[in-house]
């Protein structure tokens, strides 16, 4: 099975380890992973700020980059969901809409791909420690990926999961929201960090780098002793 990695601009720039773990994880299950080098950013920062025309330029670049792929897999619910939005965003350009539809249909979030396409529920990984999982909003509410991360994490040997209080609540990231409404965003992430603290977990696990950077940045500022991990890092841990 040929899989193209959609790295996301955040993982590419800030957490390349997440990309490495994603590649290794997929290869472990027999996927032939390639990395289309002309991929950039999904366009979400512009799209969610109302700059649709600017976002469309990014979308078209991404469509060109992934058109030839059999499957596209990315370690982010939010960025994958953005690709799912492409056909709708390009509805006024029939040719591009069709091309967008083809890419959207073969694009999956990592845990979704493992569970729904590869039918893997136990990745045979081992990770010692207590952790809490934050289900990010776009992954759960928009992309509809609710169970896959939980199923996979529950099967990780040695991992003790503690439920995060008010886990459905947004961490306050919201892309450009964290910049435009920084003060409100700061209050939201503070509350989230408090809930993480209440669990007593050593690790915070999530499936979206943006949210993790937000929560991690807050806990770093608060000198909270919680390590932040992307789910790919835990699933690829031996």
């Amino acid at each position: 099975m040929k899989v193209s990695l959609f790295i996301t601009c955040l993982c590419d720039t800030f957490t390349p380890d997440v990309g490495k773990d994603t590649v290794q994880l997929l290869e472990r299950y027999g996927c032939d992973v390639d990395f289309p080098a002309n991929q950039t950013c999904c366009g979400q920062p512009a799209f969610n700020s109302g700059y649709k025309q600017e976002a469309i330029k990014a979308m078209k670049q991404m469509i060109r980059a992934f058109e030839a792929s059999q499957y596209v897999v990315g370690p982010s619910g939010s960025c994958v969901q953005m690709i799912k939005e492409y056909p709708h965003a390009l509805k006024d350009e029939p040719e591009w809409r069709e091309r967008a539809q083809a890419v959207a249909e073969k694009t999956y979030e990592l845990t979704q791909f493992l569970v729904e396409v590869l039918h893997v529920e136990d990745v045979k990984s081992t990770f010692q420690g207590t952790a809490t999982y934050h289900p990010s909003c776009h992954m759960t509410r928009l992309l509809g990926v609710k169970d896959a991360p939980r199923i996979l994490l529950e099967n990780v040997e040695g991992l003790h999961l503690i439920e995060l209080p008010m886990k459905e609540d947004c961490c306050g990231f919201g892309g450009t929201f964290a910049v435009k409404n920084a003060a409100v965003s700061g209050q939201m992430v503070d509350e989230k960090a408090q809930h993480i603290d209440e669990t007593g977990a050593e690790y915070l696990i999530g499936g979206d780098m943006g949210c993790l950077m937000n929560m991690g940045g807050c806990m770093s500022r608060n000198k909270q002793d919680v390590k932040v991990l992307h789910i790919a890092q835990v699933l690829n841990s031996q």
Binding site: S49, C137, V184, M213
Partner: protein, 475 residues
């Protein structure tokens, strides 16, 4: 009062909200109660998603045929002795009510809770023409005594605690007892009883009007709406033009959705349906009944991509689910319609000029869309508002516009993208300490005021991948 509350700019309102720790505590605990109530009531019903779909279909069908149902409604109301007035604007609606009050030589008006009368500023209009207006919903009465606007569409005084309420009662009405809710409520009841008996005119809102019978329904918990509609000789109901259902059958569905989504109740204490004036052989009801159907900007939403915003049944489930609302409170929105639905509706009804910041007061987490009992895609409407603000209204900040133009260039030119991710670490070096940026430049300034930002990695993913491929090729 009108839809807009206060003149403070958005940033100041938000800051004031954040600093009001008491209000935030009150909002947070109320949200918790409402949310768990809603989820429990939904679970109890069993097939909540089917109910939501049905609710959406009913509202959609009604909006698609609004002219038909409003016509039917007005015919039925008139057949049963009522008078119907279509008001295009807030001014027209107020002028009509003032005119009725004048004809009746009304001096005292009692009201039950109604958001649309807040929207059109009816109290001020009636006071201007010499009437004394008394709000009889407990929350609204407290706010009226305090001259404070509502901060929530279902529980308008959500931002106040019992101690503050006791103080208000003591200062404005000479209350001498404790801040026990029972004592406070008993005092309000005692005070309001006199007003009910003296009132010449009763004004209510309308949760839903039933087109097939001309009935106006009111959903309450305090029973005050029954006093307002049965004691004074004249009853005026004011409704937003979208608040109609075809028949009793649809009413059952939307009321079930409303009470469950709003407060987690199967039904509220009182659901009142009022059909026409008092007939000769009847003992109850007003001699004179008027239904004022208010457009005030709604008609122009019909037929647009925002039409589903008119589906709203004013349950506030989106407000109760919203994490932004929790931290800033209702007054921060600067509109009597706060929260996600307020951020969608307010610019539609009152324009972008005063409300262009509202669509950005959301992380687009979609908790609102998920909570909405009639499936309004609230977060999508917020994005669409942002597009209009930027593209049609040209109201985006210049600096942001340049940044986004730069973004488009960057994201559509792989060479530029590759170069920048490679250079990111070096570029951020002046601000980096121990792999964290504690005080960032430009757009990162706000972020780093309350949290750290990570330094870009030493080697980005694509470099690692390229080297791996190279090694593999050599092997």
């Amino acid at each position: 009062m009108g839809i807009k509350i206060g003149d403070k700019p958005y940033a100041e309102r938000i800051q004031a909200g954040i600093e009001n720790s008491f209000m935030r505590q009150a909002v947070s605990s109320a949200q918790g109660r409402f949310r768990s109530g809603r989820l429990k009531a939904a679970e109890e019903l069993g097939d909540w998603e089917d109910w939501r779909t049905l609710g959406e279909e009913i509202r959609h069908h009604t909006m698609e045929n609004l002219d038909y149902y409003l016509h039917q409604l007005s015919e039925q109301v008139e057949k049963r002795g009522g008078t119907v007035f279509f008001a295009e604007t807030a001014e027209e609606a107020n002028a009509y009510v003032q005119e009725v009050a004048k004809k009746k030589q009304a001096r005292k008006v009692v009201k039950s809770k109604s958001m649309v009368t807040e929207e059109i500023g009816l109290n001020e209009a009636l006071e201007k023409s010499g009437c004394e207006v008394v709000e009889s919903d407990l929350g609204e009465w407290i706010l009226q005594l305090d001259e404070d606007p509502p901060s929530h569409i279902v529980t308008p005084a959500l931002h106040k605690n019992k101690e503050q309420i006791r103080e208000t009662f003591a200062n404005k009405k000479g209350y001498t007892k404790t801040d026990q809710p029972e004592e406070l409520a008993a005092f309000a009841r005692e005070q309001l009883r006199k007003d009910f008996l003296e009132a010449d005119l009763g004004v209510t809102g309308c949760n839903f009007a039933v087109a097939e019978s001309g009935a106006v329904t009111l959903v309450t918990n305090e029973g005050n709406a029954r006093m307002v509609t049965s004691l004074p000789d004249t009853h005026i109901a004011v409704m937003g033009m979208e608040r109609v259902v075809p028949t009793w059958e649809e009413l059952e569905v939307v009321v079930s959705l409303l009470t469950r989504a709003a407060v987690g109740q199967k039904l509220t204490s009182y659901i009142t349906a009022l059909t026409g004036t008092r007939l000769e052989d009847e003992t109850d009801g007003p001699e004179d009944f008027h239904l004022v159907i208010v457009d005030n900007g709604r008609l122009k939403i019909l037929g647009t991509e925002f039409q589903s915003a008119l589906h709203c049944i004013r349950c506030a489930a989106c407000i109760n689910a919203c994490p932004v609302y929790r931290h800033v409170g209702g007054h921060s929105y600067g509109s009597i319609y706060p929260g996600p639905i307020g951020a969608v509706l307010t610019p539609l009804l009152d324009g972008y000029e005063d409300h262009k910041d509202l669509p950005y007061a959301s992380t687009l987490c979609a908790a609102c869309t998920e909570a909405c009992p009639v499936k309004i895609p609230l977060h999508e409407h917020l994005i669409r508002h942002r597009e209009i603000i930027v593209e049609r209204e040209q109201r985006g900040a210049k600096s942001e516009e340049w940044m986004m133009k730069g973004f488009a260039k960057w994201a559509s030119t792989p060479a530029a993208y590759k170069m920048s991710t490679k250079m990111a670490r070096t570029a951020m070096k002046p601000w980096t300490k121990d792999e964290q940026i504690e005080k960032g430049p430009g757009p990162l300034k706000g972020w780093t005021e309350s949290r750290d930002f990570p330094a870009p990695a030493k080697k980005n993913f694509r470099e690692w991948y390229k080297q791996r491929e190279k090694r593999r090729g050599e092997a």
